[in-house]
Symmetry: C2
Subunit: 122 residues, 2 copies
Amino acid sequence: MNRNFSKQRETILKVIKDAEKHLTTDDIFAAAKKQSPSIGIATIYRNLQLLEEDKQIQKTQLDNGKTYYEPYIGPHHHLVCTKCGKITHVTEPDFKLCVTCIENKNQVKINKISTTIYGECC
Amino acid sequence: MNRNFSKQRETILKVIKDAEKHLTTDDIFAAAKKQSPSIGIATIYRNLQLLEEDKQIQKTQLDNGKTYYEPYIGPHHHLVCTKCGKITHVTEPDFKLCVTCIENKNQVKINKISTTIYGECC
DNA sequence: TGTTAAATTAATATTGATTATCAGTTTCGA
DNA sequence: TCGAAACTGATAATCAATATTAATTTAACA
């Protein structure tokens, strides 16, 4: 599908790029409303999908069921504080797994690895 | 809360223990209905919680939002086929991360690590 | 064994997040 | 500028999970 330029989509993208933390759908809805007061929730969901397809933003669904969005930065993993809820990133080399070991042993072609680490940071 | 013996709870536990794969809530509801045709969905959810508290079963919420149950075996990780949906387990040493590295660098006390690996097995 | 309070049940209403539908509006290339 | 495709906001529909409630079952104990 070809994209048209839409003010609402730009607003949503800006909200996510300007945020210094992971945002929920509600966070995005609230922030977008300040720019476009008449924006509807359906427009939020629709554009989050489109922006994700275009690799402009990235969706993270933690295993507690909550969904967060952040600007696209490629594959990485999350560390979530179970007390204050703060979400930070975990990168190599702290996190390491033998992809080829798993591929060989299980006869699979791995295409995505998703890890969430829970702990207390405060 | 003290537990009473309940036929329904035993049925649900048996369903999960007898299954040779990860079950969704609907799978469990359907299977339990064969034993106790009058069982309600609320009873399923309530007992899944209780059985999980008692460490008799284990809940896995994949990052696509789907929830699965299996008999309790302690911490482990999952490999999901994106084609056939088959779920298998991934164990050390194929999967390894430096818990203390992450703890020191981020000043956290880690209490849970959840990883889902996606690939094609067929 | 009979009584009784606590635990459990099935049915149903409610919630919360997300998706589908739809009629009207906007965008943009020919 | 015209028209098809993309997009919008409102709202209905869906889906998983939780809360409520009145009736039933369990098990401790008199």
